[in-house]
């Protein structure tokens, strides 16, 4: 087997390496612009790869994917607008740090965490992909249902501040998620004869609207006295080594979570970043820091999100099953080359696969330099006064929303998101649970109903299947721990010291 690997790497040639690098740079640019996401970029670039050799074309797409998922953190940190949905959790602490004048630390942490997560997951991909995939394929609706439920509950606790309002936010988001054509029964829910709503509310314009546009409105309406105190103009000192090392346990934990979630077909970075963030907050020694500028928070969010990138390749390569939109497009890229991902892939096209693995490792290393370069290129953004920055953000946001499908519908969603986000923020209702619920609640419902469909209405399916039973047990345990911790800390507060 080793000769095949060496042979594959030597076969790669300059073009494949260059195109992977080029893809990485392009991906960073795409990710750094709010409204442009990895999915859009990869979908548009797909036809270009048809006429290129497989390693060049697919290597290019992989580079774009990686670069975009990382770079979404840059605008999230600098202007509180996630460049891709996967960076939404990073915005929480990242922007807070920018406001405290510590943008550079945040950016460095994001890069470091991304690299860590990526590398770890790549190692997993290269070593235990097959056994992991064999487990992953056993996951069906009941297991997903428990996972989604756990994630939803976890997220409701993630919001800094009032948990009741967090729950309200999540429920509202879940209701918004119900809008559209119910896939299991083709019933139309909350569609009101607007054809575009049949597809539901698209996540990207909603996120951009709720983060960026609401920020604009908040700054417009903030009282004069608060004005100049708001945003600090410096990037601050770079990340110190011991600050980074302190986050290592979080990094390991979040990366494992991200790898696991990525390896499950159908789940991607947008979910992983929040789950990793939520669990990190629970396990942290300083949970109150989360949301106010915690490096741990950024570490968790970014490593979790970036770990999914190599991990989603696992079900894709082993079974030909897409993990998210990008992997679905990648499968298309493979098919266009006459290669079908799936059980015969390693037998028939080993050199291609190993060549791509080599490119994955290469892009990981290259990301160090590309990342540092991009941080340097984008840092000056912080020095721009927000009154100048905000209109520019709005213009980019509108262009971005429009570019999704050349449809006014997306722009409208973004505008509504902006007003809604503003209303939520001035009333202290946190936004993250809303967004996650829009994403997860419909999935949870779907899995729940598919489970019942599988079992013919029998609710015991959740405990009769071994995997879902253990997941469920873990979830119940987790809830008990949560409740216990809350009750205990209340008690401690009440006791005289």
């Amino acid at each position: 087997m080793f000769d095949t690997i060496i042979h594959a790497i030597s076969e790669l040639g300059y073009w494949a390496v260059l195109s992977a690098l080029g893809g990485l740079v392009l991906g960073v640019i795409v990710g750094a612009v709010p409204g442009l996401t990895a999915s859009i970029a990869v979908a548009i670039l797909l036809p270009l790869t048809f006429f290129l050799p497989a390693t060049v074309g697919i290597g290019f797409l992989l580079g774009v994917y990686k670069g975009a998922v990382y770079a979404g953190s840059i605008p999230a940190i600098l202007i509180n607008t996630p460049g891709t949905p996967a960076a939404a959790a990073t915005a929480m602490d990242g922007f807070a740090m920018t406001q405290q004048g510590k943008a550079k630390k945040a950016l460095h942490m994001a890069l470091f965490s991304s690299l860590f997560g990526d590398l770890f997951a790549t190692i997993v991909l290269l070593s235990v992909a097959a056994p992991l995939a064999a487990i992953a394929i056993q996951f069906s609706a009941p297991e997903y249902a428990v996972l989604f439920l756990a994630s939803l509950v976890l997220i409701a606790t993630v919001s800094a501040g009032d948990s009741l309002k967090g729950v309200l936010s999540a429920i509202a988001g879940a209701l918004v998620g119900c809008i559209g054509l119910d896939s299991l029964t083709v019933a139309q829910r909350f569609v009101f004869d607007v054809p575009e709503l049949l597809g539901g509310v698209p996540l990207v314009p909603l996120i951009v609207g709720m983060f960026a546009l609401s920020e604009v409105l908040i700054q417009i309406t903030s009282p004069l006295s608060e004005a100049s105190a708001q945003i600090s103009r410096t990037v601050g000192p770079p990340l110190q080594r011991k600050e980074a090392l302190k986050c290592l346990p979080t990094l390991f934990r979040s990366t494992s979570i991200g790898t696991f979630i990525g390896a499950l077909p159908g789940l991607g970075a947008e979910i992983a970043c929040w789950v990793a963030y939520g669990i990190a907050k629970q396990r942290s020694k300083n949970p109150q820091e989360f949301g106010k500028g915690s490096l741990e928070g950024i570490a968790a969010a970014e490593s979790g999100a970036n770990a999914t990138v190599p991990a989603t390749l696992i079900p894709m390569l082993i079974f030909g099953i897409p993990g998210d939109v990008v992997t679905a497009v990648l499968i298309g890229a493979f098919i266009a080359q006459g290669v079908t991902p799936g059980p015969l892939l390693f037998t028939n096209h080993a050199s291609l696969v190993y060549g791509l693995f080599a490119l994955l490792v290469f892009t990981n290393i290259a990301l160090i330099f590309v990342g540092l370069l991009s941080i340097r290129s984008f840092s000056w953004v912080v020095r721009i006064p927000s009154s100048v920055m905000m209109p520019a953000v709005v213009v980019i946001a509108v262009a971005g929303a429009y570019s999704i499908g050349s449809d006014p519908y997306d722009v409208v969603i973004m505008l509504i998101g902006g007003v809604l986000g503003y209303a939520m923020r001035i009333n202290g209702v946190p936004i993250p649970p809303f967004i996650i619920a829009v994403l997860l609640a419909p999935q949870f419902e779907k899995m729940l109903r598919q489970s019942l469909s599988l079992s013919n209405g029998d609710f015991t399916i959740f405990v009769s299947r071994p995997i879902s039973a253990s997941l469920l047990a873990g979830f119940v345990l987790f809830i008990l721990l949560l409740v216990g911790k809350a009750a205990w800390s209340k008690r401690r507060a009440a006791l005289p010291l």
Partner: protein, 316 residues
């Protein structure tokens, strides 16, 4: 005799109007298309439709004289994209890449914002039969055995289905009706999860197009039961047709191009000519072979016939 002046006026006006009215049409026919043509793909990227669509779009430029741009409008299982094209300006610049689910079955059975009549077919590009497959550990290894097992155990066979009124869903409905058996399907909202579940042993059977399932059959992860066509499939010579196994199912999936119904006839013709030429193009044929798409070109008259026959069959 004196022709009344009014009549004369009327005739002259009518003649003028007709001449003037005819002018733009003839001018347009020569110039059409003079800007890029949009092909709307109603499913999320990465699926069979979008890959085939991308190949068509790339190769079509040479024959159309203008680039062809893929526009992805996914959602509602195809309903969003289809509605978009149905309601768009019928100038020949917006086309829909459709399939049986969107253009034949669902408009008949569901209350959608568009109807099948709002489209005029241009050409059909691919046609694939369905291969019924089973999980390798399932208690049946052929269609005959499946039918027997299902008859002995009504309601116990659970199969993977994709969307209500989707490709796989319909295939199994036909099977259940023809063989008069009782089986339960679980809708997994798409081919991907459906395949995943049958691979993982959560369901026992599935029906998919050869390009999706043939690798699994070759590696033994799935057992092929039968092919729903009039003759055996070229790449799977060992798989019997469903008719051979005693169940008369001859139905397949296709991908075709449509334009809004009100598109001017000459533009439709122009598109048809272009795509007819495209189907003969060797480069295009090679690309289609590479993506394992069963190129089975059916141009307009035959396509329309097939569509109306299919839609009658569904109504029953």
């Amino acid at each position: 005799m004196m022709i009344s002046r009014t009549v004369l006026h009327a005739v002259i006006s009518a003649a003028t109007v007709c001449t003037i009215g005819a002018l733009p049409a003839t001018v347009a026919a020569e110039q059409f298309p003079d800007q890029p043509v949009r092909m709307v793909i109603p499913y999320p990227p990465g699926g069979a439709l979008s890959v085939t669509g991308a190949v068509i779009a790339t190769a079509a430029e040479a024959h159309l004289g203008q680039p062809m741009v893929s526009l992805i409008r996914a959602g509602g299982g195809g309903a969003v994209g289809a509605t978009f094209v149905a309601k768009s300006r019928a100038d020949g610049y917006t086309l829909l890449l459709g399939d049986p689910s969107i253009n034949v079955i669902r408009p008949v059975l569901e209350d959608l914002p568009y109807t099948a009549d709002e489209f005029v077919p241009i050409a059909r590009f691919t046609h694939s039969p369905f291969v019924f497959v089973a999980n390798k550990d399932a208690p049946f290894k052929s269609m005959k055995e499946l039918v027997a097992y299902a008859k002995d155990n009504p309601g116990k066979v659970v199969y993977s289905s994709d969307n209500i009124n989707g490709w796989t869903y319909t295939a199994f409905e036909i099977l259940k009706r023809e063989a008069d058996i009782n089986m339960r399907g679980v809708e997994f909202d798409g081919g991907g999860p459906a395949v995943t579940n049958v691979l993982g042993g959560n369901t026992l059977a599935y029906a998919g197009v050869p390009s999706v399932v043939q690798d699994y059959i070759a590696s033994g992860t799935l057992t092929a039961l039968c092919v729903s066509d009039t003759e055996r499939y070229a790449n799977l010579p060992d798989v019997p047709t469903c008719v051979e196994q005693g169940v008369d199912i001859k139905w397949g999936a296709w991908i075709g191009l449509f334009a809004p119904a009100k598109t001017p006839e000459d533009r439709v013709q122009r598109l048809r000519t272009a795509f007819n030429a495209l189907a003969e193009d060797d480069g295009f044929k090679a690309l289609m072979k590479r993506i394992n798409a069963d190129l089975n070109y059916l141009d307009q008259p035959a396509f329309s016939e097939m569509l109306s026959a299919d839609s009658k069959a569904v109504k029953n």
